[in-house]
Symmetry: C2
Subunit: 147 residues, 2 copies
């Protein structure tokens, strides 16, 4: 099993600002993909759609202001049954986001791509919370031939 | 052991443009850190310095237009003896960069940070090759409290 790990610091006075952005349809659609639907409650399924496909994430854990855990229940074969974990903590003027996309079976080239793409989406999340303006799909930062 | 993996596609007609940017002092100083010195030949040591510290990389392998391998011989404790691998290949109008920072002992929080920061430096490399303008330190993209 191999994992994608990231950490960003978002300059904002409250972890709730970040927690809202990763747990509500409005928040998620403003930094990841504008085509976000579904049910963000525990046991619900969030549906993220992109021009090239999409992911369905079942919400396994929600700890307000602290932790979110999703399980991929539909999407590319390599993503199925992987989990996406978010941990938040305040550190002085920053909210620290520890992000993990866990449980890839193999370090395939697509995983390398997703690792870099997650980083740019986390920078989009950071920009959204700090400035009110993220860069969700279909206008996300292009990192190469695989978008 | 845990690894940082990334993939970017750089729109450029020749792998040599990317190879030069990751193997010469001038190239490296234009996307990673302006304070780059040392010897980029096999067996030589490249010295990268940042406001907060730096890394010394011994050049283990150089395969023009294809592959570069560095070993970290000085720097933060977590980086010592890790390796940084670059693989290049042309795919239509893109040069694909497969990047691996291999051999971290533990998935510490600093590794999460370095993973995200590498992604932003790879985007700086992409911008340098595509537009002539990267964002090397000390003016690299800030991703949080750890710069």
């Amino acid at each position: 099993m191999v994992d994608i790990l990231h950490r960003v610091g978002i300059k904002t006075p409250s972890v709730d600002n970040v927690y809202q952005a990763i747990t509500t349809i409005e928040g998620l659609s403003n930094w990841w993909t504008i085509d976000t639907k579904g049910d963000g409650a525990i046991g619900g399924v969030l549906e993220f759609r992109f021009p090239a496909g999409g992911f369905d994430m079942k919400v396994l854990e929600l700890e307000p202001g602290k932790r979110v855990l999703w399980q991929v229940v539909d999407g590319p074969a390599e993503w199925i049954d992987t989990t996406v974990s978010w941990e938040l903590k305040q550190s002085d003027e920053y909210v620290i986001v520890l992000f993990k996309h866990l449980g890839w079976t193999e370090p395939v080239e697509f995983m390398h791509h997703c690792s870099t793409k997650w980083a740019t989406f986390l920078m989009s999340l950071k920009a959204l919370v700090e400035t009110g303006q993220g860069s969700p799909d279909p206008d996300s930062v292009r990192i190469g031939d695989w978008h």
